[in-house]
């Protein structure tokens, strides 16, 4: 079974760099975008299993990204945000995200969610 394909949308340079390298070390295939426009262009071109997206993006937000992806959105999606009020979490759920991680979060928290995504994909296949 192939490793999970993860698309990461984050505009903080250091964060995206280390997240990508860390996930690749664990054998995930990772592609990245620093803004919504790039993500909208690249995600449909790739057979992507998981979307991990920051909510605050320079040209929009993670909620709009999900809405505009429509049917092209990946099976499993994780929102990341510095804001974690009930309203923020509800908006993420309503937009179609399976989880809303509040920054800063421990890398292990992300790994648990990716494991959940992996199991979900396994069941479906």
């Amino acid at each position: 079974m192939r490793s999970l394909h993860v698309f990461l949308v984050e505009n903080h340079e250091d964060t995206v760099r280390y997240m990508k390298l860390f996930l690749e070390q664990l054998s995930y295939k990772v592609r990245t975008a620093a803004d919504m426009a790039t993500a909208l262009r690249e995600i449909p071109k790739w057979d992507c299993d998981v979307l991990i997206s920051d909510i605050g993006l320079p040209d929009g937000d993670g909620w709009e990204l999900m809405e505009r992806l429509g049917k092209q959105r990946p099976q499993f999606a994780i929102a990341m945000s510095g804001y974690g009020t009930c309203n923020d979490q509800r908006r993420s759920r309503d937009a179609g995200y399976d989880h809303h991680l509040v920054k800063p979060f421990a890398p292990d928290a992300l790994l648990l969610l990716l494991q959940e995504a992996g199991k979900q994909k396994e069941k479906q296949s």
């Binding site: 250091d14 964060t15 070390q25 510095g82 509040v102 920054k103 800063p104």
Partner: protein, 204 residues
């Protein structure tokens, strides 16, 4: 921060405005955004308006008072300029200015000039009305800076450290264990900061 702004901040703190944002509009005037808006804002609580009428208007020249009353009646936005005098009567070298709109019309030319003493009870009212707003602004500022600065960098560092721990572990078990402990320490710091930021958000 310029010396002049430092002086103004010192006086503001004396008045009880530790967190109100100010900007220098000219050599003589400091703008206080929103500070005095509630005084003439049609949606402000009636008691604000009352103490403004009772506490401030007696200090206003008759011409300025007539201008203000006409602006309020006509719902014309008002520019308020407050100049301070110290208790011993000396005029301090800065003023306060704010734009306020009692109605929906665009900003007009009405200017209300108020010369008032530091000891005027009006400041106590302003203090009470705006201190909580100042605290709120300060909380928001800290939360935003935690998010944009510290937490974002810490997140990158936590992932970087985990990555490094994985690489070092392939070279040496001992070093790998140390790197892993360090990554765990950073993990805990991340979780603590997250709970700090999040608990502040829950207060809102």
């Amino acid at each position: 921060m310029t010396t002049r702004r430092k002086e103004v901040f010192a006086i503001l703190q004396e008045l009880g405005f530790p967190a109100v944002r100010v900007k220098q509009a000219s050599a003589e005037v400091i703008e206080f955004n929103g500070l005095f808006s509630s005084l003439v804002n049609a949606t402000a609580p009636p008691d604000y308006r009352l103490w403004f009428v009772e506490g401030v208007l007696p200090h206003v020249t008759s011409a300025d008072r007539a201008r203000w009353e006409a602006a309020l009646a006509d719902q014309t936005p008002v520019q308020i300029h407050v100049a301070f005098r110290s208790v011993d009567g000396r005029t301090l070298d800065f003023g306060m200015r704010s734009f306020a709109s009692p109605g929906q019309k665009k900003f007009g030319r009405s200017i209300l000039c108020i010369f008032t003493q530091f000891t005027n009870p009006v400041f106590e009212h302003v203090y009470k009305a705006h201190l909580s707003e100042g605290r709120e602004l300060e909380r928001c500022r800290i939360r935003d800076e935690l998010h944009k600065g510290v937490s974002q960098r810490l997140l990158g560092a936590a992932f970087g450290c985990k990555l490094l721990a994985g690489k070092v572990a392939t070279l040496s078990n001992d070093l790998g264990k140390e790197a892993s402990d360090l990554a765990e320490l950073l993990n805990e710091a991340v979780v603590e900061l997250q709970s700090l930021v999040h608990s502040d958000q829950n207060r809102h």
